[in-house]
Amino acid sequence: METMMGQGRLAIDMIVDQDSFAENQIPNFSVPCEDYAPGAVVGTARINGRECTVIANDAMECNPRFPVVYAGIIGMEEGYKMAMAVYRSIEADADLPVAKKRPLLLIVDTPGNGPGKVEEIIGMNKSTGAYQLALAEARKAGHPVLAVVIGRAISGAFLCHGLQADQIISLSSKYNTMIHVMPLTSIARITKQDLERLTALSTSNPVFAAGPEFFFRLGGVEEIMESPQAMRECVTRHLDDIYTLKAVNRTDKLGPWGRGELGEQRGGRITRKKVMARMNEQFDAVADRYLNA
């Protein structure tokens, strides 16, 4: 298998228990019409017998109402459909203890957000913002949220479908997996930097370069998988890991904050923490004036 790009549905089948995925089946979840946001696939499956919510991209679908939305792009309907799947999952387990809350599995293969005029008039930013807030709420409520990058995880679309997860795992770039804001060629053009120089620099500083291996060094990816056959085992292991960390209240090791800490351990983004430490120090020196005004 050379690539999993465009094969979100196949990836679901490779990861979850055999024939266990039931599309649109989440308690109290419904869509306004049958062809609502067809590129956003949501539903319930089992992983080793445990029920989980699956949210994936189907890059083969086009949205019949919003023509800029195809090939895995997350448009307005898609973002809200994904967010709704998250809120319904939270509600379904509202009375359960953290150890019993269903995991959310995000299968990521998206090249971007809807870039159109109608999208701007209505507010594309709200739709993907809504999905990010929903995932953050689920994570903080105790649901393990795991993102699996199988194809494209690009910029704003990765921000909403991936970067709010507890942990992120990715297929290696051997499978043409792409994680970036922009390809290095576009960055070179826009920042007026020499492409060869940027390419050379990116081997020593991962903030410049595109690809899962560079995000790994920044803490943005927890683990890189060397083959699609490894996905199921890797998902199982990371879900266990997330459950364990949540059970012992180590949520500081998870989510966007945890990725900041992991990045520092791996030698990327080392200034970040110093900035925050200095801010706290400086505030402490003047705190009285603001706390007792």
Partner: protein, 320 residues
């Protein structure tokens, strides 16, 4: 007139990030945290031979609105378009965490005073989102900012103050949408995809990025106010934004929650109805939506001055 009083009369649009930060809070109350004297520069720009700023293009600090500690984040568009990198991103995250710790301390030590002394966060956006020179760090920082905003939910109001030249685009467009309250002037804009990119995607016949009136109709303050995305439209002065911030600081937290566009199932159910309306109206111009919302003469609203616009505009409101 003191320097602060002079700031009050200034155009918000024309002001620097630091002037906005100082002017939004009470006179003499602003303390900059991790300011330029600390010289936290981007560690990545020098590798590319690019100029740096000692504040990395973001002013962070704390002031007061009466008894309310006001944590201010103010972005400077004159430095690489206000784009967010590792240091600027960390300053934003640090400031939001600071708001949370101030709230928690108050809640623990003085719970009776929470309403009267609750902190407030003001983010004066001027940005296109991720700084491409350090793109990966910028992207990861955006996710951290979003995470911190969710931590402040139902505790500390987070207010988007959008009145600057560049407005708020890219990944920071998500962040603004995710805050509790949005205050704008008609001269600023919020969106995701900038006009040039839309033109590139759709062709000039569909969207001419050089048509300023079109650009402002699509993402500008008046449009966002009619769509219910902007809660308060104010005149273009620092004093006007400041007065609005004072009023918001006094609101109870459940009233703040009602100002949100997204962040709950009921909020996104309303947004889904708006998307369905868009599919039906199929707007080729923001004016088509203004009409659908009940404004019979959109051109009149475009031409109207602030007072007339506020008196005449029919709008959607965020809450049901």
């Amino acid at each position: 007139m003191s320097k602060w009083q002079t700031l009050q009369t200034r155009s918000f649009l024309e002001s620097t990030a630091r002037q906005r930060a100082q002017g939004l809070v009470d006179e003499g109350s602003f303390t900059e945290l991790v300011g330029p004297t600390e010289r936290f520069i981007s560690p990545h720009l020098p590798e590319l031979g690019e100029a740096v700023e000692f504040d990395d293009g973001v002013v962070t600090g704390i002031g007061l609105l009466g008894k309310h500690p006001a944590i201010v984040i103010s972005q400077e568009g004159r430095f690489i378009g206000g784009a967010v990198g590792e240091v600027g991103g960390a300053k934003m995250v640090g400031a939001l965490k600071l708001a949370q710790s101030i709230y928690e301390k108050l809640q623990a030590e003085n719970p009776a005073e929470v309403q009267a002394r609750r902190p407030i966060v003001l983010i004066s956006f001027e940005t296109g989102g991720v700084r491409l020179h350090e793109a990966n760090a910028g992207l990861l920082a955006h996710a951290e900012v979003m995470d911190q905003i969710q931590n402040l939910r139902h505790k500390v109001p987070v207010v988007s103050v959008v009145g600057s030249k560049i407005g708020c685009f890219g990944g920071m467009g998500f962040v603004a949408a995710a805050t509790d309250v949005i205050v704008m002037s008609e001269f600023s804009r919020i969106g995701l995809t900038g006009p040039e990119v839309i033109e590139q995607e759709m062709g000039r016949a569909e969207f001419d990025a050089s048509d300023r009136a079109l650009v402002f109709r699509t993402t500008g303050g008046k449009h966002k106010y009619i769509m219910g995305d902007c809660n308060y439209l104010v005149p273009d002065s620092i004093a006007a934004f400041r007065q609005q911030a004072i009023a918001i600081a006094a609101l109870p937290m459940d009233a703040i929650e009602n100002l949100r566009r997204i962040g709950s199932r009921s909020a996104i159910e309303r947004q889904m109805q708006l998307v369905a309306m868009a599919a039906e109206v199929s707007p080729t111009d923001a004016k088509d939506m203004w009409k659908a919302i009940g404004n019979e003469n959109p051109q009149q609203l475009i031409d109207a001055n602030y007072t007339d616009f506020m008196a005449q505009a029919k709008r959607l409101t965020p809450a049901a």
